[in-house]
Amino acid sequence: MGIYTPGRRRAIALLLLTSILLLTLDLRGNQILDAARNGFDKIIQPFETAAEVVSRPVQNAWRGINDYERLDEEVQRLQEQVDAQTADLVTAQAVIIENQQLLALNDLDALSDYPTVIATVVGQGPTNIDQIIEINKGSNDGIQVGMAVLTTAGLVGKVTAPVEPDRARIMLLTDSRYSVDVKLVPAAPPPPTTTSTTLPATTTTLSPAPAVPGETTTTTDDPSDTGTTIAEPAPETTTPPADPATTTTTVPEVATTTTINIDLVRETGGFAGQGEGELPAVFYLDNTPSLGGFAVDDLVFTSGSQDSLAPANIPVGRVVNVIERTTSEGPLLEIEPFVNLDSLYFVRVVLYQPGAEDDAETEAGD
């Protein structure tokens, strides 16, 4: 008897096709499959609670074996950092308060306007591909899929499905499926750009009617409107006409100096994770050398655009590498996140919904 009868081959092929069909349905979004997932979560909940209780001693032992030395070293390193940064902290707090007051005065949105939920990181994702952590707060606390998650250092990621009543999963910003709109801010304010232009000398020949021989023709430029400074020109000369019927006026070379104050935000782009072990990157940038280009150490913040899931001005990271590519592709910037994603203990979920979603909800309500 053959090892694989046609019946067995058909069965294996059927299993494969069923998997592909389910995969296709799930990726396209299917309510039945979502309901099945929720149902399974409810079924597995008691088993998970039991597993947590049973495995806690093993977990604690494992953590004790693996993390003790690392934590000891980290405590020492952090203590040194705290000492060094105490003075900076006071200064930074004063600047933050001043910034918030200015934003409030100008009726601008600030990150502190949005309510947040503080949660504890209770575990990592069970797969080796996805960059996911679990927190101990869920839909009971108002957490929804897509909400931004951060720490005091900066952006951590976003809430991803499924969100359970008392538990949620966070997709870290290094996950290859993560993306958010960002803006780039130079680490230090750029010096104003100054350009000098020299206008060539011009000669004008006037008919005798409006001009009186011996009179000087004067042209006035008002630089105040344009931000352009015109250097003091040499006095104009009027050449006595050989022909008394015409007047020739010569305007000498004029040097102009233009000063441009560059906006602090150089460019916006798309920030995307590149998977574990790889630095996230910013794409879709248009390198404009006149705006100073991109430089290592430039800072990256969320832009808070209309469709962005994260509010504006959340610190994301620092540019560590600028990779020039073809003109159509634009440069690629590798970003080092401010947050140390390997040691997350507490995170803050911003209960923020973008304007586009608010509008959609309003329309649905109408």
């Binding site: 019946g7 998997s19 069909l21 990726l27 088993f47 994702g125 999963r169 290859s176 574990e276």
Partner: protein, 181 residues
């Protein structure tokens, strides 16, 4: 139909799978040798293949993979494919032996788990995810395989029980587990 459900392997696979998915979501999110999450559900799928042959392994992998997808939140069907293949490979390579020892079963379980884990980035790339082929795979696959080998003395008998295999000395009996029936 109800009788066949009770007498078939599905009910046993479901019960054992629930416990293993719960453990995968709790204990094994922390137990990460070399930073790699040990895949015990995949380990059982491969062990079931080593115990029950390739069709049984494919069936066990499919069922356990679906449960894993439902419980862990990965795209539904993706782990069913990878674990199905893991079980199939573990069962297929048992054909090279006539008499199997426990260490051979462990080896086959490890190889099946390695094949399944290796297929994970392939399936993810197939569904459009980027940057899934990273150098870390050279760490992930061996660790998952070795972990499956370590648990195989427990998981091969468990897989045999789940698949209702009554073969002497654990020799795979392809006629006994016919997924077409």
């Amino acid at each position: 139909m109800f009788a066949s459900l009770i007498q078939g392997p599905l009910l046993r696979l479901f019960s054992v799978g629930l416990v293993l998915v719960a453990l995968q979501r709790t204990l094994f999110t922390d137990l990460r040798p070399f930073g790699v999450a040990v895949q015990i559900v995949l380990g059982l799928a491969a062990a079931a293949g080593a115990a029950a042959g390739s069709p049984g392994g494919a069936l066990a992998g499919f069922v356990l993979g679906l449960m894993y997808d439902l419980g862990v939140g990965t795209p539904l069907g993706s782990s069913a494919i990878t674990m199905g293949l893991g079980g199939f490979v573990a069962g297929y390579i048992t054909l090279i032996t006539v008499e199997r020892h426990w260490w051979l079963s462990a080896l086959f379980t490890g190889l099946g788990a390695a094949a399944g884990e290796l297929l994970v980035p392939v399936v993810r790339a197939f569904i459009g995810e980027e940057h899934v082929f990273t150098p870390r795979l050279f760490t992930i696959v061996p660790v998952v395989a070795v972990a499956a080998m370590v648990v195989s003395p427990l998981f091969v008998p468990l897989g045999r029980w789940c698949m209702r295999v009554r073969g002497a000395a654990g020799i795979p009996s392809l006629e006994r587990v016919d997924v077409a029936e």
